[in-house]
Each structure stands twice: as C-alpha cells, then as structure tokens.
C-alpha cells in the first residue's frame, strides 16, 4: 500500500480505495476519505463494521491493507484503552518518543492541559480510568498533531467521566485546531463533537453528511433529535 506524508493545503488526510480482507471476509471494500485541516469527522458503524480496522490503516498500523493513504507529517492516536506503558511514570509516558531540548517541559505542559499537572510522577497503575485516558490524550497532544485519530476513546469510561472528556476534547480542539477522526458507536457523541459524520456499512462509506448545528451543542438543541433519529436509522436501529 502506498503511503505518503507530505502536507496539502486543503486536506490533512486523503485515503483512496482502501481495502482490507481477513481470509475470505472482506471488511473494507474500497473506502475513499478526505479530512480537511481542523475538521472533526465522526466515523460511525455497527459492531464489526470495520471502523477500527479503517482507523488502524489510517494510523499506519496495518501493512497488509490495500489502497493509498496520504498522512500529515504529525498525527497521533488515542485508543479505547489508555495503552500507557505500566513501567514508565506518567511524565515519561507522555514524553515517549519525543525529541528535542525541552521534552519534559512540553510533556508537563500537555499534562497541565488535560487537567493533571500534579500526577507527573505517578505510575499508570495508580490512576483512575478517566485519568489514564487523559494522560493518553496528553501523550497524543504533546506531538502537536495536525490530525488526531481516536478509536472509541471514551467508550470504556463511565457516563459522567465520558461527558467531562467530551468537554475536554471540545476545549482542546478550540485551542489547538487539530483535525480529528473519531471512531465511535455513540450517535450522541458524534453529534456533539463532529463537523461531519460518516457511516460505514458493508465495507463502504454509505453516508457522509455535515452536522448543521452551532456550537456549543447540547442534546436538547432543536434539530439534534432529528439528526439523531436519522443516524440511528442509518445504523439499523429504528425507534
């Protein structure tokens, strides 16, 4: 699969004809996708629809996929699990793989941004689920990515923590202006956070629609319910 990383003024990520099959099962059957700088795109799909497979391919973690992907020079991934190295303190997890003179101060600044300025010397095992996920966000953020790939990043958190993380995401996005691809199965989350929603079904993108709501959004905004019903219908859930 062809991979390029040079930048482009109009798109931060361009993927064309992405295919992936596991044995005889075709999971992705020619997916075309572009993301503009600063755009938040939610990727929805039922369980087993290939959302995570697509994200892994875009992240460059799947060498066996077909098609072309052009990535930005800096991108970062946040997974559903925090995936922090248990043998490194929080600050060293955030700074993992960074180079430059002021690595530690940059890592510390990123920790402060996610609201954990004083947990830098803690071990990952000492953190709560929400805190660990914040550290994972800081680890992504410190790389100053043009594109953030998020694979159900708040899916494993309790409802309250998830709401706080969504607020954090909105705030960080306003401050840093990164583009993001958010894989989620939560229609409400997609409508709260994204500028555009994609629906993956049968290995293809069957829907690509903007979210015509103004910020800040809440689930009781006029128009939210209709969009929600429409997306749920698209995902095969009828009320």
């Amino acid at each position: 699969m062809a991979t390029r990383t040079e930048g482009d003024l109009n798109t931060v990520l361009t993927a064309g004809g992405v295919r992936r099959s596991f044995g005889a099962t075709v999971v992705l059957d020619g997916v075309d996708l572009t993301i503009a700088p600063g755009e938040v795109v939610a990727l929805l799909g039922g369980s087993g629809s290939g959302k995570s497979t697509l994200l892994r391919i875009l992240a460059g973690l799947d060498p066996d996929a077909g098609g072309t992907v052009r990535r930005p020079p800096h991108q970062a991934v946040v997974f559903q699990e925090h995936r922090l190295l248990p043998w490194k303190r929080v600050i060293d997890n955030v700074a993992l793989g960074l180079t430059g003179p002021d690595v530690r101060s940059r890592a510390r600044a990123a920790l402060a941004e996610v609201g954990l300025p004083d947990r830098d010397t803690a071990w990952p095992a000492e953190l709560s689920g929400g805190q660990a996920q914040r550290v994972a966000v800081a680890r992504a953020l410190v790389r100053e990515p043009e594109l953030l790939l998020l694979d159900e990043p708040f899916g494993a958190l309790d409802a309250l923590t998830r709401l706080r993380m969504q607020q954090l995401f909105i705030r960080l996005r306003e401050q840093h202006g990164f583009a993001a691809l958010l894989v989620t199965h939560d229609v409400d989350e997609a409508l709260l956070l994204a500028d555009r929603t994609l629906v993956l079904e049968g290995g293809r993108l069957v829907e690509d629609a903007p979210v015509p709501l103004t910020h800040p959004r809440t689930p009781d905004d006029p128009g939210f319910g209709a969009l929600r019903r429409h997306l749920l219908e698209r995902l095969g859930v009828t009320a």
């Binding site: 995570s52 699990e81 043998w87 793989g97 803690a122 095992a125 790389r143």
Partner: protein, 282 residues
C-alpha cells in the same frame, strides 16, 4: 477489528513469586503466626542436639548441630572455607554467565523473530527433555574431568530456565502496547528498549532465580567429580576421613548460598520493578 480489552497487565499475573506465601491472610496476628511457625524447626534442632549429646545418635553418623557450627567456625578461622567457597563461587559465576548469556541471546532470537523461533526453538525443546545431570558421563568423555566439566554443567543447568523465561517474557508482552509505541514514533530499537525489555524483565528475573537454583544443584554434582577445591570437594574429602561434621557443614554452606543468592535477587527485583508496587501503593 478491536481486540477484546484485557484489563490485567500481562506482567501482573506473576506478582507473587513461587515459593512465597500469598499476602493478605491476616486471619491470625502476623507476629504470633511467625512465632508459631518457628516452633517445629526449633524443636527438631533441639531434639537432634539432645540426641547427639546423649549418644543416641553416633557422632560418625550425625554429629550435633553445635559440633557442625564449631567445625564451621574452625574452618572459617584458618581460611580453608574461604578458599573452597571462592572456587565454588567462581565456577558458578562463570557457568551462569556462559549459560545465561547464551540463553538470553537465543531466547531473544526465538522470541522476537519468527525465523529465530523456527530455527532455535525445536532443538532447544528437544534438548530440554534430557536431564542435564545425566549427561555427566558424556561430558567427561567430551571435556574431561577438570574445571570445564563443572562450568559446563552449571552452564547447562542455568541455560534452560533463562531461555524459556526470556522467550515467554517477550511473547507475553501486550501487542497493543507495542502498537501504541509505534504510533508515538518509536523505531525497532527504541521499542526494544522502552517496551520489550521492561515488559520482559519480570520474566527475566524469574528465569534468573530458577537458573541460580539450577546452578547450585549442578555445582553440587560437578564438584563431586575429581575436584581439588570447592565445597563439593571439601565434602568428598571429609567423607573419606569420616568427618561427618564437615560433610554437614558443606550442605549448610550450599543451602546458605542458595538462600543468600535468592535474597539478593529479590532485593534487586523489588528495586527494578518498583512500578509494580504502584498497584498496591494507593
């Protein structure tokens, strides 16, 4: 596809080393329990001492514990014990370095590379079935009855535990952590250093502890074949002169060596793997 989330860290499975009691059984006061556990060993020693002193146990069969300690004091005083101890330690160290180094190399090769696994693992698995102490006659034919025999035996004994634990330690590393490290821009060497090595370290420690045990065992056997020095030689020589107290002293020294090396390793382990204590710290 998204893998089912495994919440437990793979390394956390072996937090309680084999041979230590499970913590947290506080149904009885700890200190009281400790005293109680001392009762039967002390009683056994006292009975032994009394039986030896009253002549119930003939001294040439089993001298009193106090007599063994006196002999130990005498041999330590005139330097005999130190000479033999140093020679035994040297054999153990060389054998452990050779066998352990080779095991680390081959274990890493088999654990990290598919080709390495295919080429290295089958012969090692086959050789594992041979009891290495049973190889003594063959080894005598190959390397003679000198120093090489002792060192080879120790190397063989320590090879297998380190090989298997290196291999398992590398294979048990959570693939998702390696992936996360890749997305952070870590190349092959950096992933080895930051993910694979620390991830395999608990297993490596376990392998080393088992290897040291096997090394002492190999030494006991090796030093009984034509040695001129060493604790084993001391015991064989004492047997010829019917110095049962020296034979028992040799056994005591072997036991203390095993105990001490295990203790040192556990301290090193606790310091290096302090991140695992984080689980209990909060």
């Amino acid at each position: 596809m998204t893998a089912a989330p495994r919440t437990a860290a793979p390394a956390a499975v072996r937090t309680t080393p084999a041979g230590t009691a499970a913590p947290g059984r506080a149904d009885r006061p700890r200190s009281g329990r400790r005293v109680l556990r001392l009762v039967s060993p002390v009683a056994l020693l006292a009975t032994w001492e009394a039986a030896a002193r009253t002549g119930l146990l003939p001294p040439e069969k089993l001298p009193a514990p106090s007599a063994v300690l006196r002999t130990g004091w005498r041999l330590a005083g005139d330097g005999t014990l130190a000479v033999h101890l140093l020679d035994s330690l040297q054999r153990a160290a060389i054998g452990l370095a050779v066998g352990g180094g080779l095991a680390l190399l081959l274990g890493a090769l088999a654990g990290l590379l598919r080709t390495g696994d295919d080429l290295v693992d089958p012969p090692v698995q086959m050789a594992r079935m041979l009891p290495h102490l049973g190889l003594v006659p063959l080894l005598i034919i190959w390397v003679g009855i000198g120093e090489e025999l002792k060192v080879t035996l120790v190397a063989l004994g320590s090879f297998f535990p380190i090989y298997f634990n290196t291999y398992a330690g590398i294979r048990d590393i959570d693939e998702r952590l390696v992936e996360a490290a890749r997305t952070c821009g870590l190349g092959h060497l950096a992933r080895l250093r930051h993910v694979v090595l620390p991830g395999a370290l608990p297993s490596l420690f376990l392998g080393l502890r088992l290897a040291i045990g096997a090394a002492w065992l190999s030494l006991v056997v090796g030093e009984q074949v034509n040695a001129q020095t060493g604790i084993g030689f001391l015991m064989m020589e004492a047997r010829e002169f019917a110095q049962t107290d020296v034979v028992l002293l040799g056994l005591l020294v072997y036991a203390l060596l095993g105990l001490l090396s295990d203790l040192l390793l556990r301290i090193a382990e606790r310091r290096t793997l302090s991140w695992r204590r984080g689980l209990k710290a909060t």
